[in-house]
Amino acid sequence: MSNKKEWPLFEIFIRSKNGLEHRHAGSLHAADPTMALENARDVYTRRQEGVSIWVVESKDIHASNPEQAGELFEPAKDKVYRHPTFYELPIELKHI
């Protein structure tokens, strides 16, 4: 049995090409951020999936609590006036 410490977990974000945002690709273990970047390159971009990589140590990510999902996200549900379809305009009108 091992009670030794494990390499920390990192979350990997990849930009697949310029013009697009970085997206979460997955995670991996690395001893430090430099190694995490290299590992990410080898693990997540073997098939030219990326042009840029971000790594963040998983423990540094702050996440919203799913139990509060109701109070966080549901109030936005009935704010239909935030969407263009809420406003009725004559159909013959163009470019608006």
Partner: protein
């Protein structure tokens, strides 16, 4: 407050409605445990599966084949990694899972306890073992647990070349010399039955199937998937001009499926229990990699700790400078 029963009902309703469950969502303890078990076993299978195929990397017959095989075995390491990561979201560490593998507490697919004796085995594994795995994995891309489903999507995308690679190896052998074709036939003979066993015990001996269906870990039963595999594979063997190592294989017009012979379940359970031809060697190889790697993993951590200490010190100096304390 909600009681557990209400939560469990709502949980099942979400799954029934096709919603995904994410790691921090409430989930029944059994759901968590089942997923840790299944995902880690899946990961272990990828990692242990590297060994029988890795056995032929240094002896691959051409440069092209060597590169293809190396890339494939490397993919398996990647797939194991994706799966371990998915399991880690449920609160178990990769090291813990590794220990479960090494101590025999966790299982992996029994197929990898069979030896790879000739180059044709590499073809047969790609064709049959990856073929069987893909049937399972495509189904799992729609499973209810988000991280598992996402890992499966990535894996399926990457794995599509594996089966083609295996079949192409078989095809080349079957179009080659009689000696090569014999090698291919022998590999099929040895791999066929263990490949059928990959789908697990018969439905009547698989008590967890109902629960797995409810959670969408499974969408078809073991026997249904096995039948699907036989139906797909028999014509592929015919195309190769190889003989199926089962005299009972015959198209059944009425069922619309191939009939096939009885699987030797005694052998299956013996191998599961650890008495297969290579169980001990596979675990010994993983144990050795773990032991040999310990000082390397420790060194990297120690170096990282030292480096960040040094950085803190130099940052400290910078901060002091900006405050004008060090001129």
């Amino acid at each position: 407050m909600d009681n557990i029963e209400n939560l469990a009902t709502r949980f099942q309703e979400r799954i029934d409605a096709g919603e995904k469950i994410e790691p921090k969502d409430w989930m029944p303890e059994k759901y968590r445990k089942t997923h840790i078990r299944q995902i880690s076993q899946h990961a272990h299978s990828e990692i242990v599966g590297m060994l029988p195929e890795g056995n032929w990397i240094t002896r691959a017959p051409s440069l092209k084949r060597k590169l293809g095989l190396l890339a494939k075995v490397q993919d398996e390491a990647g797939h194991g990694l994706y799966l371990y990561s998915a399991a880690e979201t449920l609160g178990i560490s990769r090291d813990e899972m590794t220990q479960q593998l090494l101590t025999g507490k966790a299982k992996y697919s029994s197929i990898f306890n069979y030896p790879t004796l000739t180059w044709a085995d590499i073809g047969a594994i790609g064709w049959l073992v990856d073929g069987a795995a893909i049937i399972n994995q495509v189904m799992l891309t729609r499973t209810s647990f988000g991280p598992y489903a996402r890992a499966m999507v990535r894996i399926c995308k990457e794995e599509s070349f594996h089966q083609r690679q295996g079949y192409e190896i078989m095809l080349t052998l079957c179009n080659g010399t009689p000696e090569q074709k014999e090698m291919a036939q022998d590999a099929l003979n040895r791999t066929w039955w263990p490949a059928l066993m990959m789908f697990g015990p018969r439905d009547e001996d698989s008590p967890n199937t109902k629960q797995s269906m409810a959670w969408k870990i499974k969408r078809k039963t073991n026997d249904e998937l096995r039948q699907q595999f036989v139906d797909i594979t028999v014509p592929q063997a015919e195309f190769l001009g190889l003989k199926m190592p089962d005299p009972e294989i015959k198209w059944n017009e009425e069922r619309g499926h191939y009939d096939f012979g009885a699987i030797d379940w005694d052998e299956f359970w013996q191998v599961v229990k650890g008495n297969g031809p290579c169980n001990k060697e596979r675990i010994a190889a993983r144990q050795k990699a773990w032991d040999d790697g310990q000082w390397v993993r420790d060194a990297a951590l120690a170096y990282s700790a030292k480096k960040s200490e040094n950085e803190e010190k130099s940052n400290g100096i910078k901060a002091q400078r900006s405050e004008g304390k060090i001129a």
